[in-house]
């Protein structure tokens, strides 16, 4: 396998149109000291790379670039690690092509 150049997800998200609902994140991570395996899986599985480790080794989410696929919900909602809702009406990602 060839060595892979790093993929910049931020650049991909820049193509998209969003209406960010400031102050109303639709996905929340439960407070934790050590992340569960499910939470850690989201660092890689989230297609918008919304989940990142902070300096204390905890998983944080920034929902601004979320494309609302639900992958994190399927993986980490059953363990109670995250709370998932749809954004309020009209907010969030707005696909031009879909």
């Amino acid at each position: 396998m060839n060595v892979e150049p790093p993929v910049r997800v931020e650049d991909k998200l820049y193509y998209n149109r969003y209406l960010v609902d400031i102050g109303h994140p639709h996905v929340k991570v439960r407070a934790h000291t050590t992340p569960s395996p499910q939470l850690l899986a989201l660092l890689k599985a989230c297609p918008a790379r919304c989940y990142e480790l902070n300096d204390d080794g905890q998983v944080e989410i920034t929902v601004d670039g979320c494309i609302e696929c639900g992958t994190c919900r399927v993986i980490a909602e059953p363990t109670g690690d995250i709370e998932w809702s749809h954004p309020r009406g009209g907010y969030g990602v707005l696909f031009k092509f879909g």
Binding site: V7, Y15, P47, E68, V74, H86, K96, F97
Partner: protein, 435 residues
């Protein structure tokens, strides 16, 4: 918010929701459709291929009106290793017919048009409205919905849950289980724009002819998954999807797979010089027949992706969605015309009608395939593509090796990789699941 009472509330303005709302509105029912996006289609993602037959039953004149991209005249299946692909192409001029069978579409544009038909038929369509909860009466029957609008409780005789694969309402209300990592795939997609002439030259097309390519092999790195490339008029939809459980297990990233797929020597020339205008992701129900939940109950029915109605083998999702939406609406219409309540007993007719349709018959036929593909993904998506590709190269490359020796080497490579018992076992398991 809305004082009046409706015959039916449809949650979602995708393929299933629009089919249901349109069918009921045409029958003169008082229908409210709720959509959380800014406009119908703004939250919807699909490859996308439209099958004409299912839409024709709903809007017979759609070919004159709907925003269609290209009618498909060619289907390519690619089995890929890292540097090559072995392909099967089926191209037929028969598909250049007066009423073509399949089209590529762009969902956001298509859904806007589909929704305009729903409005024309008399339904009330309310966008930018997220339904937060189902409302029950004291006898546990669903009697309406609560939305995120002020005083947002609205009542109806029946609620049609067309809320998509990631629908929260049905699962929160305990009507069905949440999708699990091994029964949904995550697909990521980009829209690559190129001049029309460039697309037609690269894909060997004229006019509105179209091609789809479905690809499997080492591009999914041993996970259960497929890549796809669909030619639209002025853009190419390109994506790849794998089971969520496989992403979770392997730690592969979806965008890493997508970029590797784009760089593959068989793919890169098709999109060279394109301008990307959107990056999207979506879950696809892959569990098949065995993952279909309870489809109806006291005052509710569930349709489309929310009900896991997707034929992963034939890549048919939106037509199952449209058909289940239409059938649910017809069933509701039947109950209403008898003047009977929307009880579980009466709505059972929806399941009966769906069982009699191609939707359930097809899913039943393939009921054992998803588990087989999911548990043997390394063989089907990594080992075989590599072996077949090597065999092909061995067959076509002329280098002075006697042919008998070449064949022996090919057979040996198969036996070595999977053993004879393994090969026969896979063939047997596959044939049995297909039957």
């Amino acid at each position: 918010m809305i004082e009046e009472r409706f015959d039916a509330i449809v949650v979602g303005a995708g393929m299933a929701g629009n089919a249901a709302a349109l069918t009921m509105a045409k029958r003169g029912m008082k229908v409210l459709q709720l959509e959380r996006g800014e406009y119908p289609g703004s939250k919807n993602v699909q490859g996308a291929i439209l099958y004409a037959d299912m839409l024709e039953k709903l809007v017979p004149e759609f070919r004159e009106e709907a925003p269609l991209e290209r009618h498909l005249i060619e289907q390519r299946f690619w089995m890929m290793d890292d540097r090559s692909h072995v392909g099967m192409h089926y191209r037929s001029d028969d598909f250049n017919e007066e009423r073509p069978n399949r089209y590529t579409i762009i969902r956001a544009q298509f859904d806007k048009w589909f929704s305009s038909k729903v409005r024309e038929a008399g339904a009330t369509v309310l966008c930018e409205t997220t339904v937060t909860e189902l409302v029950r009466n004291e006898r546990e029957r669903i009697v309406g919905v609560r939305t995120d609008r002020r005083d947002g409780e609205i009542h109806a005789d029946v609620v049609v849950l067309a809320e998509g694969v990631n629908g929260l309402l049905g699962t929160r209300a305990g009507l069905r289980a949440r999708p699990t990592p091994d029964n949904v795939a995550l697909a990521v997609k980009e829209m690559h724009f190129l001049p029309r002439e460039t697309i037609e030259a690269r894909f060997n097309l004229k006019g509105d002819e179209g091609v789809v390519i479905e690809a499997a092999g080492t591009i999914s790195r041993g996970m259960t998954g497929m890549g796809f490339i669909y030619a639209n008029k002025e853009c190419i939809s390109l994506g790849i999807g794998c089971l969520v459980a496989d992403f979770q297990r392997t730690g592969q990233t979806p965008y890493g797979l997508l970029d590797q797929f784009k760089r593959h020597p068989s793919v890169a020339p098709l999109i060279a010089g394109s301008e990307v205008k959107e990056y999207s992701a979506h879950l696809i129900p892959e569990g098949g027949y065995k993952s279909i939940p309870q489809l109806y109950g006291e005052g509710w029915v569930v349709v489309g992706d929310a009900a896991q109605l997707n034929n992963a083998i034939h890549r048919e999702g939106s037509n199952l969605a449209m058909t289940s939406g239409r059938i649910a609406a017809e069933a509701i219409g039947l109950v209403k015309s008898r003047g009977e309540p929307m009880s579980s007993t009466n709505l059972a007719i929806y399941k009966k009608m769906l069982d009699d349709s191609f939707v359930i018959k097809d899913l039943k036929k393939y009921k054992d395939l998803p588990p087989l593909m999911h548990t043997h993904s390394q063989n089907f998506f990594l080992t075989y593509p590599q072996l077949i590709s090597k065999a092909m190269q061995n067959f076509v490359r002329v280098d002075g090796t006697p042919k008998a020796e070449k064949e022996k080497a090919t057979l040996k490579s198969f036996a070595k990789a999977r053993s004879w018992t393994g090969l026969f076992g896979d063939a047997y398991r596959f044939a049995r699941a297909w039957r």
